[in-house]
């Protein structure tokens, strides 16, 4: 593998094998079989689960059905995060397939956004792209696009058409060579088990001195605890698309190649297992992490 374009393909075609099971509290007419599916890492749960819904509706009475939502080990899964981010954040250490529980009742309004139709996902997706382009190009690229171009991006994602999507998305990834990168890198850093939704600030790909910023520079600035001090073992895992890039990876390159279709670089991080052990159970955060783990282990 020599070409950066292969990275784009690998990112796009990343799949998570998933087992959907119906929540036991749901009233069914007969027992629901689990449903197995390969979920695209870069898509959204509610966009790719029509088949799941159809599968479980077969065993349910129409009057018992409300809006479908998903939960993993007690955590409601936010559909507006890319599937890959949800997996990395909540289930990266799980045994595959990823086991997701399907609910049709008791929608957790506090935790999740409603998603009555795909147009809501589209609106969310497009607003992310626009926000990213505002950071990258002062919105110039996205504003220059026509309505049909926007549609092409969305249809590309919806129908899993890599070529269709990238034929348009490459424009969003261009930048003037003399500037060496985007204006700002659109990124979001998620912390597992944290109450904060995510970290998102302005960060340039190039330092004022003209050096390329790396992933390490970004973390140091945004999330210093994630970087191990000299000699210390790694305390945090920093994961993008299920992989851990080296800290010296140039941020601009990451943004061009490892961004999600919404044009954001979604970075997930959590405390490594060993560190949890070292710290003992002195914090609520590690507690919950420990609990989660022990529950997941048979």
């Amino acid at each position: 593998m020599a070409d950066d374009k292969d990275v784009l393909r690998d990112v796009w075609f990343g799949r998570i094998p998933t087992c959907f099971t119906l929540n036991q509290d749901e009233v069914t007419e007969r027992e629901a079989e689990p449903y197995y599916l390969l979920l695209p890492r870069v898509s959204y749960l509610t966009l790719v689960t029509d088949k799941v819904k159809k599968h479980f509706l077969k065993v349910m009475k129409a009057e018992d059905v409300e809006e479908m939502w998903f939960e993993y080990e007690g955590t409601p899964l936010k559909w507006h995060y890319p599937i890959g981010v949800l997996f990395d954040l909540h289930a990266s250490n799980t045994v595959l397939p990823w086991s997701i529980t399907v609910h049709f009742k008791n929608f957790p309004d506090r935790d999740l956004l409603h998603c009555p139709s795909n147009s809501v996902i589209e609106a969310h997706f497009m607003s992310s792209i626009k926000e990213a382009d505002a950071l990258k190009h002062k919105s110039q690229v996205v504003n220059d696009m026509q309505k049909k171009d926007h549609k092409q991006l969305w249809m590309g994602l919806q129908n899993d058409k890599f070529d269709q999507f990238w034929a348009m998305n490459r424009k969003l990834m261009e930048y003037p060579t003399e500037e060496g990168g985007f204006r700002y890198i659109p990124f979001r850093i998620y912390q597992a088990m944290s109450d904060r939704p995510f970290i998102q600030k302005l960060f340039r790909p190039i330092s004022p001195e003209g050096n390329a910023h790396t992933l390490g520079n970004l973390l140091k600035e945004m999330y210093p605890t994630a970087i191990p001090n000299d000699g210390e073992p790694k305390r945090y895992q920093v994961v993008i698309h299920g992989i851990e890039p080296l800290l010296e990876t140039p941020l601009q390159w990451l943004s061009e190649h490892l961004s999600h279709p919404d044009n954001f670089l979604h970075i997930s991080s959590w405390i490594t297992q060993e560190t949890v052990g070292l710290n003992g159970g002195n914090s609520e955060l590690t507690d919950s992490l420990m609990r989660g783990r022990s529950e997941s282990c048979p």
Binding site: M1, A2, D3, D4, K5, D6, V7, L8, D10, V11, G14, R15, I16, P17, Y36, L37, L38, L39, P40, S43, V48, T49, K51, L96, P97, Q152, M155, Q158, N159, D160, K161, D163, Q164, W166, A167, R170, M173, T177, G180, G181, I206, E209, G210, N211, A212, H241, G242, I243, E244, P245, L246, E248, T249, P250, Q252, W253, H257, L258
Partner: protein
């Protein structure tokens, strides 16, 4: 962009150059002495040394500078002796020039200077007008002067022959004094400026060199061009005043600063008169302060006034060389210099650093800001001896600014008189005015005597202000020393060096041990070091002259340990050879920080730098992604996909050139439906929906049947054509026009990816690929199948699939190990990098590495036509039946200066309209060509019978694109050929020959599959310029000269890559050959009338062959491949819809026994300009023809041998 150099002189007179690719100033070590000033062109650099002589440094190039001396030997016939050297008294000399007026015996030729050497002895030129002559090279005529023929006739009374001898300029890359033939030297030069290379392309390498003498006179150097780099003589130019400094731009701008502070502008400079005719005066920018310095470019003038303010002149161009007004600029400079592309450099008044004016573009000539060039100098820390040396001489040198006396004093440096004289003169020479700022800066505790003696020596630029501010001292000095220099110069300099060196060394030895090697020495430093100076003042005073400077140095060095790290102090900079523009990436500006890390990060930023490909972080990502795939997907492939694949349709609107008459553009809907085929391969259908008499109809094409997508040249619409085999036969593609360029490129990229997907083609072209180029300059490549050359049923040519590769070229040549070279319209040489895509293929259809920017420049021509009438002479009022008074070459289309657009929207104008003198047939001084009537044959002089005239105007336009091509500077080429070798080990050196755009034959060294660009050129001497070359198997090199004669190069082998001599091959009768291509054994040529010729009787023992055999007409170009396959670009090919010019054709029936083939198979076209099949060495599937010996039988050493018997038998059998 090729690497070029910025030249500068520091305050010690050391010459440095900075490469556009470099990150440090390189000391020009071979400069034997210190220089005052330098002025650079791209091919050379001129300088005034401290001996006031002018030196020239011609940059070494693979193309030698050779001058052809010729003389004629004349003989007359008489009944007794036959032809003899006894001539009639009225005849010309027995040895004369071509006109017979000059007596020129062989021994009268002398080398013009020490910089030249003879290449060989005199020899006789045996070629005459493209034909080999009979023995002895004699040509015959009835009488002198008359028309000569190569055949002796009954009435041939006189004969003559030409003797040739070459001399070669050997002083490359060193400073050599230019000879001055004049007995009375102009007084010493104080300023020099070269330029003017854009005024005319003929003769090649022409330069204008202007010089200013100390007395304020201006001199122009006559006769500088490529073959005569030193020029021939100085000519004085009359002046309205006395000049202090002069500047000559690349074009026709020449400005000079007068002593009095005004500026003068040279007018009347042109192609016929590079020296100009008169001066116009322009006032100083500031009413109170006079100008002291001026610098001009093509369209800009910058000036510096005595208060160091910088000024920019508005509205300057070649029609208005004086401009319209001054604009004051930010920054204080001692001098500024304008280089290529009107880029500006300056030396700051404050820190004496070299600054670059950032942001100078053609639309913003004044630029944006001054940016300091902060790169270290080589040897800043290492060359102790060098710095010591130059230090001592610097002392001499700066005092020597004012020249004569100090020379005298230095010679007598050991005497008491000398020691007192030197400083004394210096004091005199320093004008009171210029003195003012220096001493007042010094604090009061300073001993007054010591610094006074030194200050004038400080910098060379202060010299200028001294001279300007008060020229009286200079004049006095003149008087004192006027007699001395002429005599003393030669001996003084070396003598001075010898005398001084030892004493400097001894005085410097303590500092060397302290590691203080290159102390900075200037008035600034003097200020800082005053305290110490006070202590050493006594020593300094008592020391002899030569140690005066060294002691000062010593003292300063001790107190200033950081000297070496500070900015060097510069005195002069010249950017005339430095090719920088807004796109250039320079590493000059901030490498004082963390050089290595910066470089690295810059590399990783740019999309396509190879080192980054191997970076650890990248490997990590690749590895982890494949691990992820294993972990998350490999065991779950049987799972259902969340999203079902479906048909994807892309729609748009376009215009279509409709199929029925009258043809015109109509609006259509356009749709591409893509789907996955049964085996998972992608396929698609193209639909064009149109209205036919209110009825909705559509046209469709299957993507897997599309053979090519071609962008079409159209000056207003963005058009492209889609071909299928059927449409190729009909010569009638689907022609479409998109609304915008962007839209067209999107569609082309999409369709192209779709076509490649459906045929399973991806990645870079194979080594066997066939390359071709359209008239528009677009590059296409086709993957040959083994069946392409199969016998008897090859793949039809019209079924070949072509895909586009980014870039813009006129010629492309390849061989079977994947080495591909191209030549642009501007003759730039390019090598293929192994990538694919570029141009409008972005993102997925393009490789991320190996894609580089590419530019090309070509000229658009229009004609100005005039008719003569008895009353007013020639006017632009023609007859009603005449052509347009402004037209294209045919006269059928009106083309005015204002309505003529670049050939397509991709091109932009980069110059103004200018008269083109280089038209075939010649022109008069105003560019006119005359004829009896339109259209007729034109000639370059007016006769009684001429009633019309025309002249050609040219305007350059430029295209910027990207593609898998890298430039091979610096020699522009017109043809190239690569040996079509069989695939072997990668280290083998591949022979590659080329012709420069001036007609030199070149042989590229070091070309391998790993280094396809090779390393350097080897020049192959010829007696005349060449235009076409081809190398075939067994190192057969054939070439065509500009006079259309053919040549075979003898004894070319891997051991002797350039061969030894040329064998002249007569052309086919009455035909002028223009192109040659050599395959395994076949040699084909094309002549100017479109005939294709095959060389009969080529055998290993007689590789020159015996005669030309006519094969075909209507041929524009031929390419013979390593299998002897013959492909051409043909004209006038019949299709069911139209005739087409520029069609790719394949010779059918070519077999070992029948290398001439039988008929043509027609492929893609028209509009094609070039093809090369020299990469396709794929043997076709074997056929069983028992009577033939197997042509592909192993012939390890020479394929020629294997085939030779057949050629012979063929010749006999036919």
């Amino acid at each position: 962009m090729p690497v070029s150099l910025l030249w500068a002189v520091d305050v010690y007179g050391r010459v440095y150059s900075l490469s556009t690719a470099g990150q440090q100033w390189e000391h020009c070590h071979d400069a034997q002495m210190e220089f005052k000033r330098v002025t650079a062109a791209q091919q050379c650099c001129w300088g005034i040394a401290c001996d006031n002589n002018i030196y020239l440094n011609v940059h070494a190039s693979d193309l030698p500078v050779r001058y052809q001396e010729e003389t004629y030997e004349n003989q007359r016939w008489n009944p007794v002796d036959g032809f003899s050297e006894r001539l009639l008294p009225s005849d010309r000399w027995q040895w004369s020039d071509v006109t017979g007026l000059q007596h020129q015996p062989l021994d009268s030729f002398r080398l013009p200077s020490d910089s030249w050497e003879w290449e060989a002895d005199w020899y006789i030129d045996e070629n005459f007008e493209g034909e080999p002559t009979e023995k002895g090279g004699w040509t015959y005529a009835i009488d002198f002067p008359a028309t000569y023929t190569k055949d002796k006739k009954w009435n041939s009374c006189v004969r003559r022959r030409r003797w040739l001898r070459y001399r070669r300029y050997k002083a490359m890359d060193t400073w050599s004094k230019i000879p001055s033939q004049q007995t009375t030297l102009p007084d010493p030069f104080s300023d020099i400026s070269c330029g003017g290379w854009e005024i005319s392309e003929e003769p090649r390498g022409r330069l204008s060199l202007w010089a200013v003498s100390l007395q304020g006179k201006v001199w122009f150097r006559e006769g500088i061009y490529h073959q005569n780099p030193e020029g021939s003589l100085w000519e004085e130019v009359s002046l309205p005043g006395e000049v202090v400094q002069i500047s000559c731009g690349p074009g026709d701008l020449v400005w000079a600063a007068l002593w009095e502070g005004q500026l003068i502008v040279r007018e009347g400079i042109g192609r016929d008169c590079p020296k100009g005719t008169s001066w116009a005066v322009v006032d100083s920018p500031s009413p109170d302060v006079g100008a002291i310095h001026v610098a001009v470019g093509v369209n800009v003038v910058w000036a510096v006034t005595k208060d160091n303010k910088v000024w920019f002149r508005r509205g300057v161009n070649s029609h208005n060389p004086c401009g319209s007004g001054w604009i004051s600029m930010v920054g204080e400079m001692i001098m500024v210099n304008v280089g290529l592309n009107d880029q500006v450099w300056g030396i700051s008044c404050e820190d004496r650093a070299v600054y670059f004016r950032q942001g100078v573009t053609s639309s913003e000539l004044s630029g944006k800001t001054w940016k300091v060039i902060s790169v270290p100098r080589d040897g800043d820390r290492s060359h102790s001896s060098a710095s010591a040396n130059s230090l001592q001489s610097a002392g001499y040198y700066f005092s020597g600014e004012v020249r004569a006396q100090s020379v005298v004093s230095d010679v007598e440096s050991d005497t008491e008189k000398g020691s007192t004289d030197g400083p004394a003169c210096l004091v005199t020479s320093a004008s009171p005015e210029s003195f003012v700022d220096a001493p007042t800066d010094h604090t009061s505790d300073q001993p007054t005597d010591t610094p006074k003696a030194r200050i004038p020596k400080v910098t060379s630029d202060s010299f200028i202000s001294e001279l300007v501010s008060d020229r009286e001292p200079a004049k006095t000095i003149r008087d004192v020393g006027s007699a001395a220099p002429a005599v003393l110069e030669e001996e003084t300099i070396p003598g001075e060096g010898e005398v001084k060196a030892p004493c400097t060394d001894s005085s410097l030895s303590p500092t060397q041990s302290g590691g203080l090697l290159d102390p900075q020495w200037s008035n600034v430093d003097l200020e800082e070091a005053q305290g110490q100076q006070a202590q050493t003042a006594a020593d300094a005073e008592s020391a002899d002259t030569c140690s005066l400077s060294s002691v000062a140095t010593y003292t300063l060095a001790m107190e200033d340990p950081y000297g070496a790290d500070e900015h060097p102090l510069w005195a002069w900079v010249s950017g005339g050879g430095c090719s920088v523009d807004t796109h250039s990436q320079l590493n000059w500006f901030n490498c004082t920080m963390n050089t290595s890390s910066l470089v690295q990060s810059v590399q990783s930023m740019s999309l396509s730098v190879t080192p980054a490909q191997t970076a650890a972080w990248r490997r990590q990502i690749f590895e982890q992604l494949s691990e992820r795939t294993k972990r998350e997907m490999d065991n779950f492939r049987h799972y259902e996909q969340a999203i079902e694949q479906s048909v994807w349709v892309k729609k748009g609107t376009m215009q279509w050139w409709r199929d029925w008459k009258p043809h015109k553009w109509i609006d259509v809907h356009f749709a591409l439906e893509q789907f996955s085929g049964p085996e998972g391969n992608k396929d698609g259908i193209l639909f064009i929906y149109y209205n036919f008499y209110e009825e909705k109809k559509y046209l469709h094409a299957f993507i897997n049947e599309v053979t090519i997508l071609v962008p079409v040249l159209n000056d207003s619409k963005h058009t492209f054509a889609i071909y299928t085999p059927e449409r190729t036969k009909q010569r009638w593609p689907i022609r479409l026009a998109a609304a915008t360029e962007l839209e067209m490129h999107d569609w082309l990229a999409l369709l192209s990816v779709s076509c490649c997907d459906s045929r399973g083609i991806q990645g870079p072209p194979s080594k066997q690929a066939i390359w071709s180029i359209t008239c528009k300059g677009d590059i296409f490549v086709s993957e040959p199948s083994p069946a392409l050359e199969a016998m008897p049923y090859p793949t039809p040519c019209d079924q070949m699939f072509w895909r586009q590769v980014g870039g813009h070229l006129r010629t492309v040549e390849c061989n079977s190990v994947g080495i591909v070279w191209g030549i642009g319209y501007d003759h730039t040489a390019w090598v293929y990098t192994g990538g694919y895509g570029g141009g409008f293929f972005q993102g997925l259809a393009s490789s991320t590495d190996n894609i580089y920017t590419q530019t090309d420049v070509k000229s658009v021509y229009i004609y100005e036509n005039q008719r003569w009438n008895p009353v007013t002479g020639y006017t632009n009022r023609g007859l009603p039946t005449d052509r347009y008074m402004w037209s294209d070459a045919s006269g059928l289309h009106e083309c005015t200066k204002t309505n003529t657009k670049p050939p397509s929207p991709q091109w932009t104008w980069v110059s103004d309209w200018a008269i083109d003198y280089s038209v075939s047939g010649g022109t008069d001084r105003e560019g006119w060509q005359y004829a009896a009537d339109f259209p007729a044959s034109y000639h370059g002089y007016k006769t009684m019978k001429d009633f019309v005239r025309r002249r050609r105007w040219a305007r350059k336009c430029k295209l910027n694109t990207t593609g898998p091509w890298q430039e091979i500077p610096p020699i522009p080429l017109s043809d190239v050929t690569i040996l079509p070798c069989a695939a072997q080990s990668s280290v083998d050196v591949v022979p590659l020959w080329a012709i420069s755009n001036k007609g030199d034959v070149l042989c590229r060294l070091g070309v391998t599959t790993l280094t396809p660009a090779g390393s350097s050129w080897l020049h192959v001497g010829t007696d005349q310029p060449f235009k076409s070359i081809s190398i075939g198997a067994a190192s057969q090199v054939w070439a065509i000269a500009k006079d259309s004669s053919a040549f075979y190069r003898g004894s070319v082998s891997p051991q002797s890559p350039a061969g030894d001599c040329w064998y002249h091959i007569p052309s086919p009768a009455k035909q002028k050959l223009k192109q040659v291509s050599v395959g395994r054994t076949s040699v084909y040529t094309v002549d100017e009338n479109g005939n294709l010729w095959y060389r009969q009787g080529v055998t290993p023992s007689y590789p020159q062959g015996s005669s030309w055999e006519h094969i075909s007409n209507n041929v524009r170009k031929v390419s013979v491949g390593p299998l002897d396959q013959v492909w051409i670009i043909a004209d006038k090919v019949q299709g069911s819809h139209s005739l087409s010019c520029g069609t790719v054709c394949h010779r059918l029936g070519v077999q070992p026994m029948e290398p001439k083939g039988q008929s043509w198979d027609y492929g893609i076209g028209g509009g094609w300009d070039h093809i090369t099949v020299r990469g396709n060495s794929m043997e076709p599937p074997r056929i069983c023809l028992p009577s033939l010996t197997d042509p592909s039988a192993p012939a390890p050493r020479s394929p020629l041998l294997a085939r030779s018997g057949e050629v012979n038998s063929n010749a006999v059998g036919c």
